[in-house]
């Protein structure tokens, strides 16, 4: 019926209008050009703050109030010189190193623990699996702020405040339900036949997990790694609460020392250190970006 209607409406104007076929390619070109221009304009708008930040890092401090434009009037690299000297005798490289230890530690912890937990939820029929799975998902709904104080008390009583342990322990214990859930969904979509074939060949759960499951969920592992790295790199509240010694601070804490509203704020240094802090994440993302897209795409197909 719809076919009939379509042909009916199609035939009538076709008689009046001249054939369109030769025009079509040109119109396509025009459309493409308009699209590209639009996209470039939008990208420029979105990227402007980042570009502004890059240029602003060369502005002397007193220019921040009077010159909000893109280019510095009086370009200087003093901001970078000052920032590289560090804070109160602690070199900037120390803060970078701390951030890196925490970020890499988080990635390792999450990849190992979340995938193991996910394997158990997806493949092992233990008693209360449904209940535990629900409870795990429920922790996603729990606001983080409810946990701050009890968690702090636990780590304090264990004498672990001012170490990296509180910031990494959770990552190694699969408490990041988001990643566990992501991997569970991924594993559930893998054909069970592979597991069963391995079982017939004599594999137990550990071997199936290592030999079969892990290689197959690589896209999910990479997605998780990227998120874990970026989240840890940008994490502010966790290090703030658990670290006391300035020489253990990661970048987000060190960054704010240059910007103190109660005395003198060095906006130039703040921006310069922000640029430096951004670079590793940017690099990490550029390198792993294609895996990220791949991972998301595969998940989309399977889910």
């Amino acid at each position: 019926m719809s076919d009939l209607a379509a042909t009916a409406t199609d035939t009538r104007p076709a008689a009046d209008t001249p054939p369109r076929a030769p025009r079509r390619p040109r119109r396509k070109h025009v459309t493409t050009a308009v699209w590209i221009v639009c996209l470039v304009v939008f990208t420029a708008v979105v990227l402007y703050p980042l570009v502004w930040m890059g240029f602003a890092s060369f502005k002397p401090n007193h220019e921040f109030g009077s010159n909000s434009g893109l280019l510095p009037d009086d370009a200087t690299i003093d901001n970078y010189v000052k920032v590289l000297e560090g804070v109160a005798g602690i070199p900037l490289s120390r803060f970078f190193l701390n951030s890196l230890i925490l970020a890499v530690g988080s990635v390792i912890g999450i990849v190992i623990s979340a995938s193991m937990a996910a394997y158990a939820f997806a493949r092992i029929a233990f008693r209360g699996r449904g209940l535990f799975f629900t409870v795990m998902i429920a922790t996603l709904l729990l606001p983080f702020h409810v946990l701050i104080i009890p968690q702090y008390m636990i780590y304090r009583n264990l004498g672990l405040v001012d170490t990296f342990v509180p910031l990494l322990a959770g990552k190694f214990l699969a408490t990041e339900a988001f990643f566990v859930f992501l991997m569970v969904q991924f594993i559930r979509n893998l054909p069970r036949d592979l597991d069963e074939a391995a079982r017939i060949d004599g594999c137990g759960h550990p071997r199936i997990y290592v030999m079969i499951t892990l290689p197959l969920i690589k896209p999910a592992l990479i997605t998780s790694s990227i998120f874990a790295f970026i989240w840890s790199w940008n994490d502010f509240l966790g290090p703030l609460l658990y670290l006391n010694s300035p020489e253990k601070y990661p970048l987000p804490l060190a960054l704010r020392i240059f910007n103190d509203q109660t005395s003198v704020s060095d906006y130039g240094a703040t921006i310069a250190v922000s640029v430096l802090a951004l670079l590793p994440v940017l690099l990490f993302f550029m390198i792993f970006q294609r895996f990220l897209v791949e991972g998301v795409a595969t998940q989309g197909l399977k889910g």
Partner: protein
């Protein structure tokens, strides 16, 4: 995004955290009470000045302050090599988030930089050490009574000020020379100040303005109230002014906002730098210790400080604002050593020498003696001298939540400047907020 501790979620959670912290600290403080009642007394008798002790000490501030504190700790260790000080630091908002968690979960530092706006909150929750009994280690006589009171809550000395400041009018000398306008003399009535601002705005021809709308700041209202013998808030923690008084105050500059002071939209563009710091205005009112920040932000070669306008030059409308204090946690295991260090920070000549006026104009006479007052520091000293007759008693200890009320007041003032809200609506909003905050 979902489960990380981002900064935004940190800010969003601060409110929840503050409430939780107070509830929990109420439970927690019982234990620490018992512990201290026994421990404190016996320690006072058995204090060994040569005992090896480690103290945690924390402050907020920038890299410059961190270097100065490190120097101070070194100087302290020359006198007391047996007391190790672990110094840590963050910025101001993060500092209080961390303290809230520690207050609830235990683990407050032994000695910490403190602010009078938190005195009620931490003092009433019984988290601070009463400094009174430690007069053997802390020299209270270096402070006059008015300054001692800034760290007292119902007669108990919980903290001591490192320095103070007074409300002032700042002027950018470079801009005024450029425009050929004489500096504002200070201490006149408001109409004269407004006329002066209008002269600057005319000369500035759209690029520089005489000043910003001073009714945006609650301190302007405070001065007017103090000229009538009142304060922003009463001893029992209520607001000290009526809706009509606030309405009159905000309406008093209705004409000034229209063409004399810098348009609020221009100020929004350069946030967080103020109009004065951004060289948009030739004058601005603020606390006298802002001179360093203003010099850095504006790049001006010199800044003049003048007395704020007043309708009644004989009134004691100004006061010494001693916001920056030092306190000791009640849970400290080494109250005597902590008291020695606190004394060194607030009182020692070395502290005066190392910090100058960067923690406020030295409140203690011994610290002041050690400070070399040069350049801007000397200007602040001269200014404080010049307004000595106008300085009266400090207002009552700020009400719990004063910081947020002050900010609300400022935000509403800006909204009026933008034309986003009428004065009547702003007055209603402020009193609604105040009724929630003050309970």
């Amino acid at each position: 995004m979902v489960r990380t501790f981002t900064r935004r979620s940190a800010m969003a959670g601060a409110g929840v955290l503050a409430t939780a912290a107070l509830v929990l600290s109420a439970c927690g403080s019982d234990d620490s009470n018992d512990g201290d009642a026994g421990g404190g007394d016996s320690a006072a008798q058995g204090f060994d000045p040569n005992e090896e002790v480690t103290l945690n000490f924390t402050w907020w501030g920038n890299d410059d302050r961190a270097e100065r504190y490190n120097q101070l700790i070194e100087a302290f260790n020359e006198e007391y090599p047996n007391i190790t000080i672990n110094g840590t630091f963050t910025d101001f908002p993060a500092y209080w988030e961390k303290r809230q968690t520690e207050a609830a979960g235990g683990g407050l530092p032994d000695v910490w930089q403190f602010s009078d706006s938190y005195l009620r909150q931490y003092g009433e929750s019984d988290l601070l050490l009463d400094l009174g009994p430690y007069d053997e280690h802390i020299d209270f006589s270096a402070f006059d009574d008015g300054l001692l009171q800034t760290g007292q809550l119902e007669g108990t000395q919980y903290s001591l000020p490192t320095g103070y400041s007074a409300w002032a009018v700042f002027q950018n000398d470079d801009l005024l020379t450029e425009l050929g306008v004489e500096p504002y003399e200070g201490g006149t009535d408001h109409a004269t100040y407004v006329d002066w601002m209008a002269d600057v705005t005319d000369a500035g021809d759209g690029s520089v303005y005489g000043g910003s709308d001073y009714t945006q700041r609650i301190q302007g209202l405070e001065i007017i109230l103090r000229q009538q013998g009142k304060n922003l808030y009463t001893e029992d923690g209520q607001l000290g002014f009526t809706e009509d008084e606030l309405r009159d105050y905000w309406n008093s500059t209705a004409d000034v906002r229209d063409g004399v002071t810098v348009p609020q939209s221009q100020l929004e563009e350069i946030m967080p730098i103020s109009g004065f710091g951004g060289n948009l205005t030739a004058s601005e009112m603020s606390w006298s210790n802002f001179i360093g920040g203003y010099l850095a932000d504006s790049g001006a070669s010199s800044i003049t400080i003048a007395a704020p306008p007043t309708e009644n030059p004989d009134a004691k409308d100004l006061y010494r604002q001693a916001g920056l204090q030092m306190a000791i946690s009640k849970s400290t295991e080494h109250p005597e050593a902590a008291a020695l260090f606190l004394d060194f920070v607030v009182n020692s000549e070395q502290a005066g020498e190392i910090f100058g006026t960067t923690l406020g104009f030295p409140a203690s006479s011994t610290k002041l003696a050690g400070a070399t007052l040069e350049g801007p520091d000397a200007q602040v000293a001269d200014y404080l001298d010049s307004v000595a007759d106008r300085i009266g008693d400090a207002p009552p200890v700020p009400v719990d939540g004063y910081g947020s009320l002050e900010q609300t007041f400022w935000d509403l003032g800006k909204a009026i400047g933008l034309g986003a809200i009428s004065v009547d609506d702003a007055v209603r909003d402020f009193f609604d907020e105040a009724s929630v905050v003050l309970g």
